[in-house]
């Protein structure tokens, strides 16, 4: 599976990775993995944030566009931007493969190591992990840049799409959300409206 990033910050609850593709972090809510212990086990994360900034915090991003040069053309006009900008993404840790071969959907015992590669989960891994919804609770308890309900909704949309628009799965996921947010009508409606298929 192709590597999409390298971990540049890690903790018990999340990881931050430098994306290999500028401006292209993995989709918000998608499932990613880090393979640890010499390829034996995986730690799973849900992409919770993406950003592109200057590599050097001391250098401000300045306006580059002119009447003649805009958008993508700016990068041909200033080729050094590929080397002086960086895209990073964060992923909340939502599960891991235990030593008994089972996959658990709660925080892993240890953070994944720095400089390890982050990969997107393949279709089989997405299908197996999303069979259970225990990790929804982890996503709802997060306090990050994005409201927890929006992050959960993005994750459900990504899993629904990766499972081939599995309507049955979506309905089950919606029931789980309703159970978790039964005392919080506004938050519940926020999620349900955001995951309703077009």
């Amino acid at each position: 599976m192709a590597r999409i990033g390298e971990i540049v910050a890690t903790s018990s609850s999340s990881l931050t990775a430098a994306s290999f593709a500028l401006h292209q972090p993995p989709p918000l809510g998608s499932l990613v993995k880090v393979t640890v212990e010499e390829g034996q086990r995986r730690v799973y994360g849900v992409v919770s944030f993406g950003t592109t900034t200057g590599l050097d915090p001391g250098r401000r991003v300045v306006r580059r566009s002119t009447d003649d040069v805009q958008d993508a053309a700016i990068y041909a006009e200033h080729p050094q931007l590929d080397k002086t900008l960086r895209t990073e993404f964060q992923a909340l840790l939502v599960g891991y493969d235990g030593p008994d071969g089972r996959t658990y959907q709660h925080l892993p015992p240890q953070p994944p190591p720095l400089h390890y590669s982050v990969c997107a989960c393949d279709a089989d891994e997405v299908r197996r992990f999303s069979q259970r919804h225990d990790h929804f609770r982890v996503l709802l308890q997060t306090m990050g840049e994005i409201p927890a309900e929006q992050l959960l909704a993005a994750h459900i949309r990504e899993m629904y799409r990766a499972r081939g628009n599995d309507a049955e799965w979506l309905a089950a996921a919606a029931r789980q959300v309703a159970a978790l947010l039964k005392g919080e009508y506004d938050r519940l409606m926020g999620v349900l409206q955001a995951i309703e298929p077009a």
Binding site: D56, R59, V62, Y75, A76, E77, H78, P79, Q80, L81, D82, K83, T84
Partner: protein, 393 residues
Amino acid sequence: MPLDFAAIQPQIAQMIGRAQTQSTADQLQAACELLRTTDSARLRQVLQERQQRDRIPWLVATPRGQIGARHAVGPLPGPDFSVLASDGSSIPPDRHSPLRFFLVNVGLALLTYGRRPDAQLWAQSRFRSDEQDIYIRTEGRRIPMEGARMGLQMALDELQALWEAAQDVGSGSPLLALRDGSLIFWALQSEEEAVVGHFLPQILDCLDRFRMAGIPIGSFISYPGAQDVANTLRLLICGQDPKHCGQCAGATDQERSLCRAVADFRDQALFLRHLRPGERSTVFDSSSTILDRYGEQRVQFAYLHTGDEIARLEAPQWVMSDETMRDFLFAAVMDQCRRGRGYPACLMEAHEQAVITTGERYLVEQMVEETLAERGLVYVRSAKDRSKRERGV
């Protein structure tokens, strides 16, 4: 302790008051008029006579064309071209340390434009502690590498790194090599011959490699402080031997007033009024005596209105006398200033690669201290240094 701002503020106001006067503006106009109307053939003759007759205590510039000429910078040779720049920073020898070493970090930027835009940014760090690197030996003495000599070493490292990098660039499209700062190494003039003999041949050898490879090399000086052209105008204003400037007896009041004003003008002030954005001056020869030892690499200069300021561009005469190379130099620099919002983008990126942060300087010192400790050696700095670091009360 904090600065006494109450004392400083009125002094700042006085300084500004002295700088901005109507008479200064009038004198600048008169100087520019002189620039526009002087016949350069006559000027070159006057310069030659005066330099033979008198000892001119300041640098003057001999124009290759009309002194007041304005040349519009032409277009780039095509959409595909590259600019390679270097810049350097250093950790100089520390007299408070028991060990003598220095570090030069050369930043490099290769920016390619056109059908295949690309950028390569990197740095080369050179740590020096060998006897032959940290001293120049002469007649049983050791001349330490410090102060102005450190600056020369850094300039040499920048040029050599620029050459090494230039060799790896494909020859498919035009390449310009550019450095920040002067190519006229004035500092050598006040050094003893052993130092000149150490640096100058290496510098000239490096420039010659560019010549043999057909790669134009130049340097860019932002907001230059030079007065070469202004000094030349002084020789036109007054025909007296400059040794009489203190008495200034032979000049008329008008000549005296204009000469004194011009003596304070920088060339960049003259050309800011004289040139329009996108224009360059004629090429000038400097009278700096160190250039007499440059041979084929003798450096010439010209002023360029970048749109934001007057910059001084220097290059060996083999670049300035080759129309294709010269035009490419000025066109590429104008283009770089446009992309870099007033300053060449490649020099900006080379500088960023070269910068040594305070943290990194401290880290180098830590590395030295830890390596000493591994070998059971104690690292003791001077008492003065320790007192500055402690700052106890």
